[in-house]
């Protein structure tokens, strides 16, 4: 490739990315500004909490349990080397509420609920349902997008909490029931080492931010999808990829701010 072509291609890609970022930001602002209807008619949000949150429960609970069990096994092996196997509860709990709970739950949420949101909104666009709504003098951003956005933002921290809870239970099953760590020590060390403000609250903040990012990306990709089968397929893929990268990048930034020197 000639250098000129390379530069023009990079320039074009950069310009397209900046334009798309601007469009997405404008879209997000519109969603926030037109959220009044959703809050006044809260049943619209409840319905979306069901779609995004309740229907994601199985994958969240199953994954949480397995992640917790793996943490129990791995943690026990490592801690026993230093004679600290009794601290297994602390390791499992802190790993889950600080990092794995919000991050893994958000990645699963992006794959399960995010892709579903993109496909649904994209299909509504393809079949002219959004246009039909506009022609009926009903704002699709207020009626379709905003409830899904808030449904996702509310669901995400709840799912992360459930993920962490089942993960801790998985760690308990392996550590206490299988490997013989003392029951009382497991829970009491966890209780004294895990801080509500530093650990749990920060985990909740993280998962809320992830929920905000994933749902916004999923909705934008659906709303902006090329209205063809291929367009929806590409949009769904972009949702999962972009959301996953956003989650990991945001996790790094949030962790850097929250746990500096802690």
């Amino acid at each position: 490739m000639k250098p000129n072509n390379l530069f023009s291609r990079i320039g074009r890609l950069s310009l397209n990315s900046i334009t798309r970022l601007g469009t997405a930001t404008r879209f997000l602002l519109q969603v926030l500004m037109r959220s009044g209807t959703s809050w006044r008619r809260f049943q619209l949000i409840i319905r979306e909490i069901y779609s995004s949150g309740v229907l994601s429960l199985i994958i969240i609970v199953a994954s949480g349990l397995f992640v917790g069990m793996v943490l129990g096994l791995q943690g026990y092996q490592t801690l026993q080397t230093y004679g600290s196997a009794q601290s297994l509860g602390v390791l499992v709990a802190l790993s889950l509420v600080r990092e794995l709970g919000p991050v893994v739950a958000a990645l699963l949420f992006a794959s399960r609920a995010g892709s579903a949101i993109t496909a649904e909104v994209g299909l509504m666009k393809t079949t002219e349902q959004l246009q039909a709504m506009e022609m009926m003098a009903v704002d699709p951003i207020a009626r379709i997008v905003a409830p899904r956005f808030w449904g996702g933002v509310i669901s995400m921290p709840l799912l992360a909490a459930i993920f962490s809870m089942t993960g801790i239970y998985g760690g308990y099953l392996i550590g206490v029931r299988l490997l013989g760590v003392d029951d009382g020590t497991f829970w009491s060390q966890m209780q004294s080492a895990v801080s509500f403000r530093e650990d749990i609250l920060n985990g909740v903040i993280k998962s809320t931010v992830f929920g905000f990012a994933v749902t916004a990306i999923a909705l934008f990709e659906g709303y902006d999808a090329v209205p063809t089968a291929e367009g929806i397929s590409r949009a769904t893929t972009r949702t999962v990829v972009t959301s996953s990268l956003a989650i990991l990048a945001l996790d790094f930034i949030l962790t850097a701010f929250m746990f500096r020197g802690a």
Binding site: E128, Q129, Q131, A132, E134, M135, A137, V138, R143
Partner: protein, 287 residues
């Protein structure tokens, strides 16, 4: 209730011609040009739609018919000129006023565009629930009346994926007239329908227009079915109004474009071949 035939009405051919500068026009499109980026779709188009009439806008695929509907509905803004609906310039309205105007419009989409997560009843009730404070009992009765008008009262509990193409179109029609609009727009209402469904939709369009005092615009390329029910036809080609007239005038028109369209001729002003270099040269038979 049987669908009334339009034999008992004044035949379209004997309805008086209307004056395109009449003050009683519901829609006035004046010198409208519209382009997608650099591609001109409509070029300096002017046409009028008097109140109470059924007007057809015809032309080949991609000639700008649907764009015209979108301009009337305010989904697009003209590059030049203006579209006036009910004495309001559509592209000058703010969002609130545009939505107020849209409450007086109904649009039947090509494939219905029913909300796939709602059943037929809820689709028809959608606008009533969004825009009015009517009681559930009142909405129930109104929805059943609308569904009865299109013959789908018995299908109220079906989901859109359980409807045939014709039924979906009728359900969408019931939804479009839910709030008794002033203007009904139909985007290719006959596409993909069997002859019976086509006839049913055609009769419904005419019957609802007359019974509810609507004004209707059909965007279509189905000559036979639409000439039976409309009062006036505009032909659009390459973004311009190429011909216009009553159905009888259209049927006997000698104008080359209209003749080709009405008689479905393969070649004419609309060529069979997409512009291409010389055939023999392309095949390498000429030096």
């Amino acid at each position: 209730m049987p669908i009334s035939s339009y034999d008992d009405r004044i035949p379209p051919s004997s309805r008086p011609l209307f004056n395109t500068v009449s003050v009683d026009n519901l829609i006035d499109i004046r010198n409208v040009t519209f382009a997608y980026r650099n591609h001109a779709v409509l070029q300096d188009i002017s046409l009028s739609v008097p109140r109470g009439r059924v007007i057809a806008i015809m032309g080949g695929s991609g000639c700008g018919k649907t764009t015209l509907l979108r301009l009337i509905g305010g989904q697009l803004r003209p590059t030049q000129g203006e579209v006036s609906v009910n004495e309001q310039i559509v592209h000058q309205l703010n969002n609130h006023d545009l939505y107020q105007l849209r409450r007086k419009m109904g649009l039947l989409f090509q494939f219905g565009a029913l909300f796939t997560d709602l059943n037929v009843f809820d689709n028809v009730a959608f606008q009533m629930r969004e825009h009015t404070d009517l009681s559930p009992e009142m909405i129930h009765d109104l929805v059943l009346m609308k569904l009865n008008a299109v013959g789908l009262r018995g299908a109220q509990h079906l989901m859109p994926n359980e409807l045939s193409g014709g039924m979906a179109r009728r359900a969408a029609l019931a939804r479009a007239i839910a709030l008794d609009p002033l203007l009904m727009m139909y985007d290719e209402p006959f596409t993909g329908l069997d002859p019976i469904s086509m006839g049913v939709i055609g009769k419904l369009i005419r019957r609802l227009n007359d019974a509810l005092g609507l004004t209707s615009i059909l965007v279509t390329h189905d000559i036979e079915e639409s000439l039976k029910i409309v009062d006036y036809v505009y032909f659009i080609s390459e973004g311009r109004v190429e011909a216009q007239g009553t159905p009888d005038e259209i049927r006997v028109s000698k104008q080359a474009f209209v003749h080709q369209f009405v008689h479905a001729e393969e070649d004419g002003p609309v060529p069979f071949h997409y512009p291409a270099p010389d055939y023999a040269s392309d095949l390498g038979l000429k030096a």
